[in-house]
Each structure stands twice: as C-alpha cells, then as structure tokens.
C-alpha cells in the first residue's frame, strides 16, 4: 500500500477470534462435537443399536441364525419355547431364524430406494427452488397431483403392471418418494437462493448448473441426510406392505411382509407367533430409523 502507511501493527491482519487456529483441526473438532452431542441422545443410541442388530442379521444371513430359516422342518406351529424362542410356523420352520434372515431383502431394497429418491428429489427440488417462476409452478402442480394419490395404491398398480421383480419394486418406491423429497429440498433451496453469495456467483457469470450443484447443494446437504434417513424408514414400510399384498418380494424368501401375509389367517386359530414377530421386526426397524433421523436433525439444527 503506497499511501496511507499506518503503523503496520495497527493495520496488521486481524487475529481470528480465539487462540491459534488450525482450520482443519477446527473442522474435525466441530464434527467430533456433533458426534458427541448425538451420542448423548438416548433416542440415537437405541435407534442405532436396533439398526446395528438388523444390519448384522442382514449381512450374516443364515450363517448366524440358530436354525436354517428355509429348510429346517420341525413340528409345525409350536408355541414359543426354549428350543424355538419365537415358536415355529405352519411348515415347522423356526420363526426366530426366519425373522432374522428376513431382514436381508428389505435392508437391501429400502436404502437403495431411499438413495434414488433423494437423488432425484434433490435434482428436482433444486431446479424448482433456484429457477422458480413457471418451471416451479408446473412441477409443483405435478407433484401435488402425485401426492394426492395414496402411495401404496400406485405402487400396487405399477408393480402389477410391470411384474414384481426386486428392481421394479425399488424403482417404484424411489419414484413415489421423489416428489416428497423434492418439496423439502425446494424449500431449503428457496431460502439459500435468497442469500447474497448466489447473487455474487451470478455477478461473475456462473451458469445455473454450477450455482445449483456447487454453491447451493453443499449447503442443503444436511437436509438431504435427514431426508434420506426418514425415507429409509418409510421405504421399509412400503416395501413390506407391497410384499404383504403379494406385489413385492416373492416366496420362499423369509421377508417380513411376505411372512405376515402367509400367516395372518392363523391368528384366528390363536397361532399369533408366526405373525407377531415379523410385524414387530418391521415396527422396530421403522422406529429405529426415525429415532436416528430425528436425532440427526435436532443436532444439526442445534
């Protein structure tokens, strides 16, 4: 600076607030702090433990089940006992082993469907929130129309029309969840697009694609993570429902929804255990993912 030479000490770089700063260390500290806050929430601990249990079952499959879930036939419809903790089903297979092994299909399908729906929803949502105007108007109406029809009903229609393969079930659920995700992401993008850094980007001639993917998307990533965890829970529920209706995973898989649909008529004959345990399994998985999602959301906003 040629003019206005002032005491260098006076104009010297302003020290950052606080002691010596190490940018990366500081960031690591911040994420460790977030993890610490998460671990303090009982909801998160319980949810994670349940999730961990089901993940172990899904990965281990029939290697870790007490008995073979498919081909180990004992006396049928035994009530819960020391030999069979959850009893046996109408073919004499161990219900506990089948419930454990049944985690696999749904735990593969649900997260894939959730990832796909979040990816597509994020794309739509950012486009709507960034461009606004007629693009937003048209897409919003389509989404509203979509949301007004019950999810399971359309899913059932699509799957019965196209056939019940795993790929089609996953694709259907992903497409059906996309509008819901898009709406949330749109709201987050609208708020971001008001900020001056977006104006600054436009003032240096950035393209819309750049602003959406590089400038805005990183700032809505928290929303996307929460949206993903929530969608996993709903996907578990929807996929199980489809299996129950016979439009999802096909026999002889020990899938929960499928098992329930095979056994629920037995309740009238007071054989409740082949139905109750897979139902509890679905409930526990959905609740666990929601507990985790809630905790992440709360900590993120804290």
């Amino acid at each position: 600076m040629s003019v206005g030479s002032v005491d260098p000490q006076v104009l010297g770089p302003e020290p950052a607030a606080g002691p010596v700063f190490d940018a990366r260390g500081e960031r690591r500290l911040a994420s460790r702090e977030r993890l610490r806050l998460l671990l303090r929430r009982p909801g998160f601990i319980v949810g994670s433990l349940i999730l961990l249990f089901w993940l172990t079952c899904a990965v281990g499959g029939d290697n870790i089940t007490p008995l073979d879930p498919l081909n180990d036939f004992d006396v049928s419809l035994q009530p819960p006992s020391a030999d069979h903790l959850f009893g046996t089903d109408q073919l004499g297979r161990d219900v506990l082993s089948r419930v454990m092994a049944g985690a696999r299909d749904v735990l593969i399908a649900a997260p894939i469907a959730a990832v796909l729906s979040v990816a597509m929803g994020a794309m739509l949502g950012t486009i709507m929130g960034y461009y606004r105007g007629w693009v937003d108007e048209v897409l919003s109406r389509i989404i509203e129309a979509f949301l007004s029809i019950p999810v399971v009903l359309i899913a059932l229609l699509i799957v019965s029309a196209l056939g019940a393969s795993g790929v089609i079930v996953i694709g259907t659920v992903a497409v059906l969840f996309t509008p819901i995700v898009a709406r949330t992401v749109r709201a987050a993008t609208l708020a971001e697009a008001q900020l001056d850094y977006v104006t600054a980007a436009r003032l240096r001639g950035e393209s819309g694609l750049f602003v959406m993917t590089r400038e805005i998307l990183p700032n809505v990533s928290g929303t996307l993570i929460v949206e993903f965890t929530v969608r996993v829970g709903y996907a578990v529920f929807t996929i199980s429902t489809l299996s129950f209706l016979g439009a999802g995973i096909q026999p002889p898989s020990p899938d929960w929804g499928l098992t329930i649909s095979d056994t629920y008529r037995l309740i009238q004959a007071s054989f409740w255990w082949p139905t109750l345990f897979p139902a509890l399994a679905i409930a526990s998985l959905v609740i666990a993912t929601n507990l985790v999602a809630d905790s992440i959301d709360t900590v993120r906003q804290a």
């Binding site: 206005g4 940018a23 900020l195 001056d196 104006t199």
Partner: protein, 681 residues
C-alpha cells in the same frame, strides 16, 4: 467481592437505597460444556430514578448480558456467581420464579433490538397492547382505554386504526413504538433499552429517540440504554459507562466522557469514528489493534492490556486503580497522566486529482417492478456519472431506491428499456448474463452482510480462487498464486485461506468479501452498506482498506450507506435519493455545506452525533410513501417542512444547478434553501 477492583468501584459510586438500579460487583459466567466462562468480571454501577445511563463498548464486551442480568433474563447456562442487582431496592438475584414474574410485570420493562420479533405476528396489536394492561389487573374496558392512551403517548397518530392491524402491517418504527407503549404500561421504575433503534433509518431513529426522551420526563423512569452508536448514547444519556471484556473501564457524565475521555479504550473507540468532517484525503482512521478477548479468557490485571498502546509491565502485573478524574468521572487506568502519548490517526495528504474521465454513465435509467398487476416505479429517470477513481456516496432512507439502483447497474434487476447504462462509453445490456465477461469483471459488489455473501460450505481459498478463475480466465496454478497475492493485499494471513467463513470474525469475513470483489481488478465496486454490521473499530479498518485499495488501483466506488459520517469520510461526491428520484447531487463539500435540498437538510439534522446535536432539528414526520402510489408534484411534498401549497403538490420540481456539479430538484429559490451546521465540532 474478593476482587480488589470491585471494592474500588464501590468507593467511587456510592450506593444509595433509592437507586432505581444498583448493580454491585456482579460476576457472571456462562457454562459452556460444563466449564464456567466469565463474561462479567465485577460490574458496578448505579442508575438514579429518572436518570438515563448508557453502556457502550464493542460487541461481545458484556453490555447486553448486563442489561439482561438486570432483569435476570439469562439463558439457562448463565450463572451470577457473585454480587447483587437491586432494582428499586429489591434484590433480583435472590427472587423466586414467582416473585420474578411479578417484578417483571410491574417494576421493570425491556425493549429489544428487533420489534418484529417482540410482537406476536398472529395477534392484532389491540390484543397485545390490551393484554399488557389486563395483566396488571385492569378489567377489559379500562384496559382498552388505557391501551389507546398508551399508543397516543408514543405519538401514534391514529391509534384506533393501528389497534386493528397485525404487526407485519406496521413499519419498523411503528412496531418499536408499540413495543415501547407496552413496556411503559406498568409505569416501570426501570426501562432497559437494548439497541432500540439499530435496525431503523436515521429519520425514524430520531423520532423514536424523541419519544423516549419526552416520555422519560413524564414518567420518571430510570433508563438503561445499550447502543453501539455513540451518538445515540450522547444524545440520550446523562451518564455513560464504557465496558470492555466484562468490566466498566470508565464512567462519568456522558458529554464529559465523550469530550474528554480518560481511558485508552474510550479514546480508541472515539478515534475510530470519522468525526469533525474528517475525509479520506486528509487522514486514515484510527483502528484499535487486535480483537476483544474471547469470553472466559483469564485477564488477571488490566482487561485492556493486550490492545493498549500505553501498556507496560505495570499494567501486566498490577490491577489498575480506579482514578477519579472529575466529579463522578472515573477511569480504571495506571497511566492517566500519559494519555496524551496515545497514537493519533496518521495524517495523510493525498492530492486528489480532479478526474473527469467517466467510467460509468447512467442516463434516464428507470426500473419498474410489477407487483400484483400494478406497476411500481422504483427508479425514475436516473442520470448519474461515475468518474475514474471516484467514490460516489448514495444516501436516503430505506425504500428510497438505493439498492435497486445498485442492482440495476449490475444487471441483477434489468433496467426498463429506454434508459442507458454505459461503461466506457459502450452501452451495456440490461441483464448481467447478457453482458460480456469484461463488463462483468469491471463491475463487482460488496454486500452488507458477509454471512450471507460468502458461501459457508466453501473455504476462503476456494471462494477467492473461483472468482479469480471465472473473472480473469487464468489457469489453476496461476489462480492459486493470485489467491495468495490477493489475500496479502487485503491483509488476510495464509492460515485464513483454509478456513470457512464461520470460523472468521465479522471484520475478516468482510475482508474476504472485499477480496472477492477485487479478484478481477474491477473498475467499479458497488458497496452496499459494507460496514453497517460491524463494530466501529472494525469499521475503521475496513474503511481504511477501501480507501487504500482505491488510491492504489484507482477503482471507482458507489458507496451506499445510511451513516452520513462514513459517507462524508469516503465519498468525493454524494447523491441523495428519495422515492426513486435523485433529489440532490454534488461534491461532498457542496452537499454537506449547503444550501441543501429540504430532504437532505432533514437527513443531516436527524443524525445523532458524538460531537453533539446539530443546532436545529428538522423532524421528518410520517414514513416514506409507497412507491406504488407516489405523491403528485414533488414526491417529497408530503413530508417537506418547506412545502409551498399549490406549487409543490401540483408541479414537478425542476432540476436546478446551484453551482457547477451541484444539482437540486426543488421549487424553492436558492436563498430560501436551508443550511445545517454539521459536525464542525
């Protein structure tokens, strides 16, 4: 009260039983992750009934915490560890929840910075104001009568109408009046005002302060006023306490403290302000080196020692004594006799070459927004030129069209067809996206709020590198090299480059934003209130930086600000806007020296200054009219104190050239235009 300095305060400020507020040796800590961090380190002061006491200091010094502590409105992790707080003789620190509620309802009130969040957006004004009275035990009819009275008292012209509105239908100034009316419902012994006018325009601020001043005499309530604007404190308060790092370092009569400060910190704060009509061509602004210590830092001796120019071993080893320097005026410093050794702002004489080559020229630029099917003219036929290396200050109340003008220049809001924006004599497209890269590179912007202007997911390095690459088109390696250069020029150290914006202080963030604007060596930088979110010491550093960059690179600035002292310091020429029209334009000396346009006259006289009030106050009544339905004739006639009936409301005023370059849009003959004596100190 183990701290010897706390006892010292007591010796100076003698407590009396009938003080409206007595804060005695209060130490307060916030528990963060289980560790108590000291925020107040023994604060002692007394406010007598009917007296107004001001607290000043940089943000983070503990002034708001003190105000909240006075009513024991503390977050759950805030603990008063020592001392006591008496309001009208009652100890607030050992009240039960129930007593506290009753106390807050009847004895003390508080007014916050943002009136919008103090009012419930879903309830009509009537139910909120009436509730303030029914709580006190009045029945419904009496309460509603009293509510109307209360609104009249804060000079709301049509209280019946206002009662039926919702908060969002009122302007910020109106909302703040309603909040004040509610605060005064219980006829409190103590009224705490925390930055009550910070978000308001100077003209509205002057009006709100007037109301508080006149009510104060009616009600005999003691006032504790927190404000970062020293001018506001001077115009409102009898006595003032200067706070630093959780301790009062100087206290005394307000005028005496501002005229003859006796603590190095007070002296520094006052020197940071562009005062007495200081100009960038004459002197750089003084800045206080360093920043406020973080809360919880251990400061065993003098709290200001790390930033003080006079600090020596004595200051580092011994607690400074309380030195009485006048009647009721004391300071906490070892070196009261050495204060004249404080460094003065550097005097610099810069030859200002009368540059005439016009970089940017606007002729007949208008901008009309379409809102709900109606045309709303935001800019009307703007003619304006910006010379090379010149700073053009743009002033006016909010809603006058300043930001719209800036955004039309930049092409964020394309101007209406018909007008022309010429850069180096070449007509520019209306939309930024349609302009050539060179034109984009030539014009950049510094925003008001750096938190919004910087992408919080990016590191500083990435922010700067992207701007350099996009604007200049250089390769990656070259861009990396220039990032370092740019950072050095802006006095950002290399370690800041790998940080994200939230890890930086407000001043550093604004430097990054300025660096980004300068990434492509722009011809013109538009600064939209770049220092209004910053403390005075940081503001001074940023203003110095902007002035230095301009001297170096001969960049032109369009500088938007509501702070006339700042505009006067930095601007070569000033344009005054009202309702989308330029009312007056001229060199800084012409605009400040007069004769003025009546609107300029009112703006100049509304500003509370640390150097004392202007001799004559012109009060602008009412609010800026909606641009959707502008007044006939002269748009300013509805609020003008020199209004000529039959002329101003019928005929559009001509533009008159008073002197070469000094244009005024007014019907009045030159010799009837007003002159305001400002800041001659």
């Amino acid at each position: 009260m183990s701290d010897p300095t706390t006892a010292g305060d007591g010796a100076v400020a003698t407590a009396t039983a009938n003080d409206a507020l007595a804060v005695e040796g209060v130490e307060l800590a916030y528990r963060v992750r289980g560790i108590p961090r000291e925020v107040l380190r023994g604060v002692t002061f007394h406010v007598r009934p009917g007296e107004a006491y001001g607290l000043v200091g940089e943000s983070g010094c503990g002034k708001s915490t003190t105000a909240y502590a006075a009513l024991r409105y503390l977050p759950s992790n805030g603990v008063i560890t020592s001392g006591r707080i008496l309001v009208a003789g009652q100890d607030v620190t050992d009240m039960s929840e129930r007593q506290l509620r009753n106390f807050r309802a009847r004895e003390a009130s508080m007014v916050y910075q943002d009136p919008g969040s103090a009012l419930n957006p879903t309830l009509k004004i009537s139910s909120q104001v009436i509730e303030a009275f029914t709580i006190l035990g009045h029945d419904k009819d009496e309460a509603s009568d009293r509510a109307l009275d209360a609104l009249r008292r804060v000079r709301i012209a049509d209280p019946e109408k206002v009662m039926h509105r919702y908060p969002h239908q009122l302007s910020g100034g109106m909302q703040q009046r309603v909040v004040i009316a509610m605060a005064l419902a219980c006829d409190p012994q103590l009224l705490v005002l925390d930055e009550p006018t910070t978000g308001l325009d100077a003209t509205v601020e002057a009006e709100v302060l007037d109301i508080v001043r006149s009510l104060r005499h009616e009600m005999n309530a003691a006032i504790l006023l927190i404000a970062h604007n020293l001018g506001v404190i001077r115009s409102m308060c009898d006595r003032v306490g200067v706070m630093y790092a959780g301790r009062i370092v100087e206290e005394g009569d307000a005028i005496e403290v501002f005229e003859e400060p006796k603590h190095p910190y007070t002296i520094g704060l006052l020197q940071c302000l562009p005062r007495h009509g200081a100009r960038k061509t004459e002197q750089a602004l003084f800045t206080i080196p360093g920043t406020l210590p973080q809360i919880g830092t251990s400061l065993p001796t003098c709290v200001y020692v790390d930033r003080c120019a006079l600090a020596d071993d004595l200051c580092r080893n011994e607690v400074p004594p309380v030195v009485e320097v006048g009647a009721g005026h004391w300071t906490r410093c070892h070196h009261v006799d050495r204060l004249d050794e404080m460094p003065e702002p550097t005097v610099q004489v810069v030859q200002h070459e009368g540059r005439t080559d016009v970089v940017l020229e606007l002729s007949g630029v208008s901008k009309t927004f379409r809102v709900h099917g109606h045309d709303v003219p935001a800019l009307v036929g703007i003619d304006l030129g910006l010379a090379d290396g010149e700073t053009l200050g743009l002033v006016g109340e909010s809603g006058s069209g300043k930001s719209t003008l800036a955004k039309s220049m930049l092409g964020i809001y394309p101007a209406d067809p018909g007008g022309e924006i010429k850069l180096d004599h070449v007509v520019l497209a209306g939309k930024a996206a349609d302009r050539p890269t060179a034109a984009m590179r030539a014009m950049q912007m510094v925003f008001q709020n750096p938190d919004s202007a910087l992408n919080r997911a990016w590191t500083v390095r990435r922010i700067l590198r992207r701007a350099i690459r996009k604007l200049t088109g250089v390769g990656k390696a070259e861009a990396d090299r220039r990032v370092e250069e740019l950072a050095e020029g802006l006095r950002l150290s290399p370690r800041h480059l790998d940080m994200r914006p939230r890890q930086l202080s407000g001043g550093l963030k604004q430097r990054v934003a300025i660096a980004r604007a300068f990434a492509g060596d722009p011809r013109i930088v538009i600064c939209d209130e770049p220092t209004s979110a910053l403390d005075v010491s940081v503001q001074a550093a940023i203003l110095n930086l902007l002035a230095d960059l301009q001297f170096d690179k001969s960049t032109s600035y369009l500088f938007i600000s509501h702070d006339l002292g700042v505009v006067r310091y930095l601007a070569d020429r000033i344009a005054v806007m009202y309702l989308g029209l330029i009312q007056e334009v001229g060199t800084t000396d012409q605009v400040f020296g007069g004769p003025h346009h009546p609107y300029t006259e009112a703006l100049l006289s509304a500003v509370p200054s640390v150097d004392g009030e202007p001799s004559e106050r012109i009060r602008l009544t009412g609010e800026i009219p909606s641009p959707a339905n502008p007044p006939s004739g002269c748009v300013f006639h509805t609020r003008c104190h020199r209004f000529i009936e039959g002329t101003c409301d019928v005929i559009e005023p001509p533009v008159v050239e008073l002197e070469p370059g000094h244009l005024i849009r007014c019907h009045l003959p030159v010799d009837e235009l007003g002159k305001v004596e400002v800041g001659t100190g």
